[in-house]
């Protein structure tokens, strides 16, 4: 009986049961739908086994949007619970689970997936490549991420969600204080998707270093590609730390070791330390691609080249290294001496300098420009002041003595949402709108898009600015309730309204996709935005092989150059194109990983062993496999190009 108890929802509430039913119904509907329309074959051939970077990118972004919905609902529930004093919408335990999953889902499964999806779609196009360096590995990365995300979401209905905060500090996250399997889910969901992320990192570094079009030196790469390169460097060196921390956490919870226990020599501070050695670079992993997108968008819609290209690159390189030097500012209050705190306070503030350079460069890019207020540009313009506010509050937090007062308060919550939402979320929406025609061949509706932007921005300000004040008034974060006398009530209510506006914005954005799909004219042409970088030199939507002829490039704004100065991007003739074959191995292997993770969470060792054998079987299959890919013939290329209206 004990065995089965672990699978139960440890925290039954009507809300959870209702969502269980909803999930089950949706799943059944999806399965019936696919069967009815006989789409299983199509799904398998075209999507589940695909190694095409554009499709993998799309799947990342679709998953990211789903996770945004999940994390967003969590967020709204938190704001609703704290909207008024002594609210009883959620109880303490439920609230704890909600803010824990909100954090993980938003950072790992939403933001990371969004940026990786964006990189997948854009980077090969921007450097004139046919695909990424290791297309098969790319598929494995996606499916591992997906397996991790699904594993994490299963926790919600089987066995219970993690409840120790997304930072998961021990000993609270140890078995003494967190008895359900929730934290086990945390360990394995992050471990599996982290593995996928690490592979993405390697894949994109090699892609960018080795697959650039002829003529594209490093200093002639578009800025988004630069940001992707730096981001992936950070991924490669940061994620192994998480791997080890999670391994140690798993051993502590499931094998009775004492890494982070307070007995037998263990040290709870080590978890916090390792978590943030990974966690701080992680912040820059999220923000740098966003910076890249803003650089592209601002240059395009100011109709000017990016100001200070070299200093933009230099500042990113600097940030990549410095991001590994500041992690202690996440726990200034852990009782280190003022010496340690002083050192890390200074390194933290120093990062503001390269970041500041970027802000000024964007402003100077608009200078003497010809600014068009399209939706992507609106997000970029909204980003600058909001992110500046988030950035300067970050500098305030970096002052160690003052941090003793901000730490663990709503002030901190306001700060990091203030950098992540205008930083990452705005950028992803800008990028989504900007590159949408590239992938789908039609534009998103500008009017609805603008409404979405205004709801999101105003909602954001209403939701998060009050938190700076409640934080200074002593409201700790992660409190599921507070009393009337504290006086936190009105501002929290305001936050809730802001969150509501943000929810409306999300609905508008999703509706916009549907609306535009139905109503937008197709065949927007090759260059709907009057853009500048190489990805616009091919058709919309992009054909399977990206570029019919390998482009030859002479500047970071190769496409602009070809438009204005008549530079010939495609001097060569058609040649047959080598493409990788699709493969079912990645998705099957990720399936084994899911079973592995799930069995491990519940310590079902037979399942663990069988799944591990499955994983190794997939690897062995891969190494013995003799797959040389396939070729697209010149005739086929000509045919396709004709369909797009003229050979390029």
């Amino acid at each position: 009986m004990e065995f089965f108890d672990r699978f139960a929802v440890p925290h039954p509430s009507p809300l959870i049961y209702a969502s269980m039913v909803a999930i089950a119904l949706t799943l059944i509907a999806v399965v019936i739908g696919i069967t009815y329309f006989k789409k299983w074959g199509y799904l398998w051939r075209e999507w589940l086994t695909t190694v095409d970077h554009k499709r993998i990118g799309m799947m990342y972004i679709i998953s990211a949007l789903l996770m945004l919905f999940r994390g967003g609902v969590d967020g709204i529930m938190m704001r609703l619970q704290t909207a008024v004093p002594e609210n009883s919408f959620l109880d303490a335990q439920h609230y704890n689970e909600v803010f824990t999953t909100h954090g993980i889902v938003m950072i790992i499964f939403m933001a990371m997936a969004f940026i990786i999806g964006m990189m997948n779609i854009v980077v090969p196009l921007q450097i004139g490549a046919r695909d990424v360096a290791f297309p098969r590995l790319n598929a494995i990365s996606f499916w591992l991420y997906f397996a991790g995300a699904m594993l994490f979401n299963v926790s919600f209905v089987i066995g219970g969600s993690p409840d120790a905060g997304w930072t998961n500090y021990f000993p609270l996250a140890g078995t003494d204080f967190s008895q359900s399997v929730g934290v086990n889910y945390y360990m394995w969901a992050l471990q599996i998707s982290g593995l996928g992320t690490l592979m993405t990192g390697i894949n994109f570094i090699v892609t960018i270093l080795k697959m650039r079009a002829p003529g594209m030196t490093l200093m002639k790469m578009p800025m988004f590609t630069w940001s992707a390169l730096i981001t992936n460097v950070i991924i490669v060196f940061a994620f192994p730390v998480l791997t080890i921390a999670l391994l140690m956490g798993t051993l502590d919870r499931q094998f009775g070791t004492h890494f982070f226990a307070s007995t037998n020599g263990g040290m709870d501070m080590l978890w916090a330390n390792l978590f943030w050695v990974w966690g701080h670079p992680e912040v820059y992993i999220l923000i740098l691609p966003a910076f890249g997108i803003y650089s592209e968008v601002i240059a395009t819609f100011s109709q000017r080249n990016l100001y200070g290209y070299k200093s933009m690159v230099g500042s990113m390189v600097l940030i990549s290294f410095m991001s590994f030097l500041v992690w202690v500012h996440h726990f200034f209050t852990m009782g280190h001496g003022p010496l340690v705190n002083g050192i890390f306070s200074i390194t933290t503030m120093a990062i503001a300098v390269p970041t500041g350079i970027k802000i000024f460069n964007w402003l100077l890019t608009m200078w003497k420009g010809k600014i068009r207020f399209t939706v992507p540009m609106l997000y970029s313009i909204g980003f600058i002041p909001l992110f500046t506010i988030g950035g300067v509050t970050g500098v305030m937090l970096a002052i160690a003595s003052a941090d003793y007062q901000y730490h663990n308060t709503m002030f901190l919550v306001a700060h990091f949402h203030n950098v992540i939402i205008p930083g990452v979320v705005f950028a992803m929406l800008a990028g989504l709108t900007y590159w949408w025609p590239k992938v789908f061949g039609f534009m998103l509706n500008e009017r609805i898009g603008k409404w979405g932007f205004w709801f999101l921005s105003i909602g954001f300000c209403l939701a998060f600015f009050p938190m700076y004040i409640t934080g200074l008034d002593g409201q700790a974060r992660r409190m599921y309730t507070y009393s009337e006398e504290t006086g936190f009530g009105p501002l929290n209510l305001l936050s809730f309204f802001g969150a509501g506006l943000m929810a409306i914005a999300f609905i508008l954005i999703v509706f916009n996709i549907y609306y535009s799909f139905r109503n937008s004219p197709r065949n927007v042409g090759q260059d709907p935005w009057n853009a500048r970088s190489l990805e616009w030199a091919t058709h919309n939507p992009v054909p399977e092989y990206n570029f019919a002829v390998t482009p030859v490039v002479n500047s970071s704004e190769a496409f602009w150059d070809s438009k204005k100065n008549g530079h010939n991007l495609f001097p060569d003739k058609f040649e047959k194109i080598h493409m990788p074959n699709n493969s079912g191995v990645p998705v099957i292997m990720a399936g084994f990983f899911f079973i592995f993770g799930f069995s491990f969470v519940f310590s079902i060792w037979i399942g663990v062993i069988l799944a591990a054998l499955g994983i190794f079987g997939c690897m062995a299959y891969r190494t013995f496999e003799n797959d040389h890919g396939r070729y697209i013939s010149v005739e086929e290329i000509k045919e396709t190009e004709k369909k797009y209206g003229g050979a390029k």
């Binding site: 270093l209 730390v241 330390n273 050695v277 590994f324 030097l325 280190h336 010496l339 340690v340």
Partner: protein, 94 residues
């Protein structure tokens, strides 16, 4: 037969054995902690460099810049992590 044992690799192997013997001195001879650690640091890093250059052919391809940058970057960050962690959790306390 001789062509199967290039001098460079044999040299590398012999020197790594020698370095191991030197490192073993810290166990067999009596010395202070500081001297011992210095010996270990020197022998370990030389051995690692030997492997990198003689056996792993790090500098032979056209990507050698990327490869060396990557290795140096990794070592730098790893050292930052090790010493930063020690500073934060052990040495830095008041």
């Amino acid at each position: 037969m001789k062509e199967l044992f290039p001098a460079k690799q044999v040299m590398g192997f012999v020197s790594s054995l020698l370095l191991t013997v030197v490192a073993l001195c810290v166990y067999f001879l009596d010395m202070s902690f500081e001297v011992g650690m210095t010996i270990l640091l020197v022998t370990a890093f030389i051995q690692a460099a030997l492997q990198l250059v003689f056996f792993m052919h790090a500098g032979e391809s056209s990507d050698k810049k990327a490869i060396y940058t990557n290795v140096y970057y990794g070592i730098a960050i790893a050292l930052v992590t090790v010493f930063g962690t020690l500073l934060t959790l052990i040495w830095g306390y008041m």
